[in-house]
Subunit: 262 residues, 2 copies
């Protein structure tokens, strides 16, 4: 069970679509990790730290935070994290080396603003940033593994792919199995009744969702159990037959997908 | 001060980008309403109702909820809202009329699944849906105005534009003023120091954000005070001059925008 916190006043102003949250949620789902909540908060020390505290109180196994690790005054996730965990907010020597080396590559020196990127909770470990300067942060609090990543999508994704994903893969073996079907010509409420009357293997804990969009209605099914591939395909085939029987049209035939994207 | 809750397991699985949240946040910002938190929760009765309860406990003036008002079994926002408010979950006669009329236009009859779209908290008022079947829900709880809208973007937007926006316009007179500038060739940390040394009119409570993206660094400033248009423009002009002085390049010159989008 995981939670995601994305920080950034620009998200709360509707200036930027929160693609980071979607990307992370997708990656975690592919690993079989259920994301229970995604929260966006502005660049405000109290808001960020109380949001972290609330997630810890709900007892999540994994908490991924993005944004607020840069050199700006409003980058305050590391400090908020220290406050939420009751740890000191200190200069991390390993992180300072990472920052200094990255700046050197770019021909830049250490300034107060840049040194700030090496400050983190006292018990935290820095995670190398393959494309940018600010390191990620890894810290454990009782049952929760907390990972903070920069908000710049290219940096967030690079750290996630290179360091977070391998770590999480070790923690989980399950993977997502999913299938979908797009139809039209039948009202959503009829599709809903049809789906409710489906008998599926309860052990598969199949998640079923219908989504109405311009092109029709998508019927989506997924399970975190690889062995339920055939159960999902058969369930979709039964839906397809029933839809055709009541006069519906198949827009996209059944497509199945298995395992994490590479 | 507002909060937004978007429901839908598809959001937590990273299947769908949460454009509804961004759209609503943008609309509220344009009205001068500060969005303090955006939360996404799965289609789960307990998760949705506890998320609503938490928002009410934080004392928000406005709570907008999207998703979960349709005919499917996993559409359970109305019931979760009733539980969170301690109100009965009842069939609303006015909503039933709306639903029945919409179905009639489409040549469809009332079924149990469809009647569900007319069920809501006992003290709630239905909001007409100009493009779909499921009505929106409006209900007050102490200081908080709560509005629940369908998750289908076209329906959510239509209800928002036709019924919610006029209501909110009456509640607030302020509007957003904003400006931005895109530069490159200067490290973000130098832009940060430069911005920190800017002297701006404190009364304007100017929000300043730098955002790094492929094309360069955007420097964005906004205020909820219309009379601060010139303060923002002058501040951006000072940044522009300083950037040029230290060898930076202007990618996009200063652009200013005033008032809500029509």
């Amino acid at each position: 069970m995981a939670e995601v916190i994305t920080t950034g006043t620009e998200l709360l102003m509707g200036k930027v679509v929160n693609t980071n949250a979607t990307w992370i949620a997708r990656k975690l789902s592919e690993l079989g990790i259920v994301v229970r909540r995604i929260t966006s908060v502005p660049d405000d020390l109290d808001e960020v730290s109380s949001c972290i505290r609330e997630a810890l109180r709900r007892g999540t196994d994994l908490l991924i935070i993005t944004g607020g690790l840069g050199p700006s005054k409003d980058d305050l996730t590391a400090q908020a994290l220290a406050e939420a965990l009751g740890q000191r907010y200190v200069l991390n020597e390993e992180a300072l080396n990472m920052v200094a080396n990255k700046l050197k590559e770019r021909g830049l020196g250490l300034t107060a603003n840049r040194i700030k990127m090496a400050r983190m909770p006292s018990k935290a470990t820095p995670i190398p940033n393959p494309v940018g300067v600010a390191p990620g942060i890894l810290v454990r609090e009782e049952r929760t593994l907390i990972i903070a990543l920069p908000g710049v999508p290219s940096e967030m994704k690079a750290i996630f792919e290179c360091y977070v994903l391998p770590e999480l893969r070790r923690l989980t073996a399950e993977s997502l199995v999913e299938g979908s079907l797009v139809i039209r010509g039948v009202p959503e409420s009829d599709v809903a009744s049809l789906i409710e009357s489906l008998e599926v293997n309860k052990d598969c804990r199949i998640y079923i969702k219908t989504r109405v969009f311009k092109g029709g209605i998508e019927i989506y099914m997924s399970s975190f159990r690889q062995e339920c591939y055939d159960d999902i395909r058969e369930a979709l085939m039964r839906v397809k037959e029933a839809i055709i029987k009541i006069g519906g049209i198949i827009v996209n035939d059944i497509t199945m997908r298995r395992g994490p994207r590479r």
